[in-house]
């Protein structure tokens, strides 16, 4: 049995920005199987469809999840407190491919940063480039700095470099300091990251988002067009080889 359903207990909960919550949940079965880049599917009380949330860190019998409140479902989940239970299905999806010895660049945009944190421990040498709207939307900077060199960009210049993640990324690619790029964030950012990697011939893996129902590959709602045909974000992804994705057909 590859998938688990667990009533995970919330071990800690912190509000880290005005709308982002940092949870650690106790779920021994899922934690034992989890790989970086996989996700958990959380049932918000009273809802029909589960909400997919990436695994941010894998601990001893615990998983860390960092979730932004976007709509009604995530708002309901955010009402849960330490000691409460979260009904999760995990670990789901196909995560990142990791070769420790490669020099990795992790590129995260906004709420795309969390799934890269576990990765930042799994390479001998890596750099994280994290882009945010502004300083008050910044998350996990300290956590990344503990594990690897970390570059921050903000759209408005209120922290780090003023501009987009693609600027420092292109410098690293141009100077040959990246063997592999691993990225998560909004689709337009991923498209640009994939484009740069293609230009410099650097392998790139991207974590994609799509609306889901079953979360396991049975219902076919989470379609992603790739060069080898229709794939599904919940099962074949969320992490795809960027060169495989048909970028002109992503919304």
């Amino acid at each position: 049995m590859k998938y688990c359903q667990e009533d995970a207990r919330i071990v800690s909960k912190n509000k880290i920005t005005s709308d982002v919550f940092d949870f650690v949940i106790s779920c021994s079965q899922s934690a034992a199987l989890a790989q970086p880049g996989q996700f958990v599917n959380i049932l918000a009380d009273g809802f029909t469809l589960r909400r997919p949330i990436s695994i941010c860190e894998i601990g001893q019998g615990t998983l860390r999840l960092v979730m932004q409140v976007r709509g009604d479902g995530t708002a309901r989940i955010a009402e849960k407190n330490v000691g409460d239970r979260l009904d999760i299905v995990a670990p789901l999806g196909h995560g990142f491919e990791i070769d420790r010895s490669k020099r990795a660049v992790l590129v995260g945009g906004g709420i795309g940063a969390p799934p890269l944190l576990e990765l930042s421990k799994r390479f001998d040498a890596c750099t994280a480039i994290l882009g945010f709207r502004s300083a008050d939307a910044m998350i996990l900077q300290n956590d990344f700095e503990k594990n690897c060199e970390t570059v921050i960009t903000t759209d408005d210049g209120s922290a780090g470099i003023c501009g987009f993640v693609t600027q420092p990324l292109e410098e690293m690619l141009r100077s040959g300091r990246a063997d592999v790029v691993l990225s998560c964030g909004p689709t337009p950012m991923l498209r640009n990251v994939a484009g740069l990697c293609k230009k410099y011939g650097t392998p790139c893996q991207v974590s994609m988002e799509q609306r889901m129902a079953c979360g396991v590959g049975a219902c076919l709602v989470c379609a992603c067009k790739t060069k080898s045909g229709m794939r599904h974000v919940c099962k074949n992804g969320p992490v795809f080889d960027a060169a495989e994705v048909k970028w002109d057909e992503q919304a």
Binding site: K2, Q5, L49, A213, V216, V221, K235, A251
Partner: protein, 303 residues
């Protein structure tokens, strides 16, 4: 005593709880949660003569107590289905129902001929998919078109034939009779109701296809009503579905007239929904001194 054993058109089911087409793929994923041999059967993802890519995403939207989908019959084609999926399902030991859709009467008939030469136990004709321009709903909403496609499939199919009815009609009993008169061995209902959601921020429909099929717990009362009407209109077995989430709703659907039930959307909310319903039915029979669950079928005492 096997209290849940159910026989429909000569096909024996361990229990009357069948996975609804499109919610359960070909069973491989749910087999990673529990052995799928535990469930009565699988109505497989709708298959067409040729492979299809389906609609552009987003293909799903949540609604109060339900959801919309517009997958658009993405599937690997009936030949792949017969060669790669059917043998595996039969190995697991559960009833395998092929769900067939098409653009034209000839497509349905040809796909039926392909599954007729396979280990599939039964065929469910999907004449009610609302999600593609030519996905079958046009065959399921007028009696003449329905009769034509059912007759054409019947000619190529020796296996038991279930016709899956659309709820998007004025009087479902007319369609039920037309299907039965044209050679259907059983009926299943309901397929999804046509629905729509709009993102008020962008003024765009949530689904890329604009409209989609509405399913889940919210549609349950509509489904119960239609199953009851159809049961009273025909003399062939009826398989009831639409919004069933627990064993009590399974019992209610059977009392309305369903000889067996299917479970779709509930699998998404709880991947163990089907085993839980099966256990619930078992206990219900034991607690109420029911020797076989079939005893409750159609026993609603209507006013």
């Amino acid at each position: 005593m096997n209290r849940l054993k159910t026989v429909i058109c000569g096909v024996e089911f361990k229990n009357p709880v069948i996975a609804a087409s499109g919610s359960y793929g070909f069973g491989r994923e749910y087999n990673e949660f529990y052995p799928i041999s535990e469930i009565g059967g699988i109505s497989c993802k709708g298959t067409t003569l040729e492979p299809r890519d389906g609609n552009a995403p987003p293909r799903v939207a949540e609604t109060p107590c339900g959801m919309l989908n517009a997958v658009g019959l993405q599937n690997p084609g009936v030949r792949h289905f017969v060669e790669k999926e059917v043998p595996w399902i039969k190995e697991q030991g559960t009833v395998c129902i092929a769900n067939i859709a098409g653009n034209a009467v000839e497509d349905y008939a040809e796909a039926a001929a392909v599954v007729n030469d396979s280990a599939v136990d039964m065929v469910e004709l999907n004449v009610s998919c609302p999600n593609v321009k030519h996905g079958g709903m046009q065959f399921g909403t007028t009696c003449a078109a329905l009769s034509e496609v059912v007759c054409a499939v019947r000619k190529n199919l020796a296996k038991p034939l279930i016709v899956k009815l659309s709820p998007n009609v004025t009087d479902i009993t007319e369609l039920a009779r037309a299907a039965a008169d044209s050679g259907a061995d059983a009926l299943s209902l309901i397929n999804t109701l046509l629905g729509m959601r709009i993102d008020i921020r962008t003024r765009r429909p949530v689904l890329r296809n604009n409209m989609g099929g509405f399913s889940g717990n919210a549609v349950f009362p509509v489904a119960v009503r239609m199953v009851w009407q159809v049961k009273n209109a025909v003399n062939i077995p009826v398989i009831g579905m639409g919004g069933i989430t627990d064993y009590k709703q399974a019992v209610e659907m059977m009392m309305a007239g369903a000889d067996a039930i299917q479970v779709g959307t509930a699998n998404f909310t709880d991947p163990f929904a089907m085993p839980k319903i099966i256990n619930g039915l078992q206990r219900y029979c034991e607690d109420n001194g029911i020797g076989n669950i079939g005893e409750i079928v159609g026993t609603v005492r209507a006013w």
